[in-house]
């Protein structure tokens, strides 16, 4: 039983979901940030997953990787708040295009996907353990 390969596939899934979780945490933390190093309010970020094909023989069992982290090009939220330091002459502030509800849903999805990968790891481990018991 090629447990190493199975574990590396599941580990790639765990890693990809963890990166996704990091990005979601960053989006939530910066939901009110009006300043960024690039200037302007924070732009919501998102991960792009990509399948990584194995070699010729293992080509059917593929791992996953985060290909890139993209910025959401949707327009910023505009809120009327004349007291805000970053308000323009008319009193409007541009806030990040982060939608809390959307982030929470993504977070749940990432967390469930992570759990599914953990179960796959545990199941592979118990199978390997059982194989070692043959002939005992």
């Amino acid at each position: 039983m090629d447990i190493g390969k199975i574990l590396s596939i599941s580990a790639s899934g765990l890693e990809a979901q963890r990166i996704r979780m990091n990005i979601i945490a960053s989006n939530l933390a910066n939901a009110q940030s009006t300043h960024t190093p690039e200037g302007g309010p924070y732009r919501r970020k998102d991960v792009v997953f990509s399948e990584v094909l194995g070699n010729a023989i293992e080509k059917n069992a593929s791992t996953v990787e985060v290909k890139e982290i993209v910025e959401d090009r949707r327009p910023f939220q505009v809120v009327f708040d004349p007291q805000h330091p970053d308000a323009n002459e008319e009193g409007y502030v541009q806030l990040p295009n982060v939608n809390l509800l959307e982030e929470m849903v993504n977070m749940m999805s990432a967390s469930r996907s992570y759990e599914a990968n953990v179960i796959a790891v545990n199941s592979a481990k118990s199978m390997a353990q059982k194989a070692l018991e043959i002939g005992r």
Binding site: I3, I9, V48, I57, A120, M127
Partner: protein, 138 residues
């Protein structure tokens, strides 16, 4: 009755082929679960029952005939256990064109892992029976 059975009859070799196939299947199911959020990913699987029947009827390892020296030798298209890998029939691919159905993958994985443990147990028992016979039951 003629005693033609050798010490290790084909139960053990058959079951070890089955174990190989199940571990291969586990790899594919892990890959499906790891890629559950990858756009355009297609779920892959081994039709375990069909493949097991094929092994049973052929009674051995099937090799691919090479008709051209440019062909990849060995078991291209097959995996190390010799089982055919199929794309799971598309159910509802959804907006990201991904055909992984997590519930189905988890159910298949549970089934696969129980079958694996059971087969390993049977091989174990088989060996113990032989050992028992050698020791004349003492």
């Amino acid at each position: 009755m003629a005693m033609t059975m050798t010490i290790f009859d084909n139960t053990i070799s058959f079951l070890s082929r089955a174990l190989d196939m199940m571990s291969e299947r586990h790899k594919l199911l892990s890959s499906n679960i790891a890629n559950q959020d990858t756009p355009d990913f297609k779920a892959k699987d081994i039709n375990f029952i069909d493949e097991l029947r094929a092994v049973q009827s052929s009674g051995g390892v099937q090799n691919i005939t090479r008709t051209n020296p440019m062909h990849i030798s060995g078991n291209a298209g097959f995996n190390s256990s010799g089982a055919r890998i199929t794309n799971r029939p598309e159910s509802n691919s959804g907006y990201d064109n991904n055909s992984v159905n997590v519930e189905l993958e988890m159910a298949n994985m549970a089934q696969n892992s129980i079958l694996y443990n059971a087969s390993a147990q049977v091989i174990s028992t088989k060996f113990r029976m032989i050992a028992n016979a050698i020791r004349e039951g003492r």
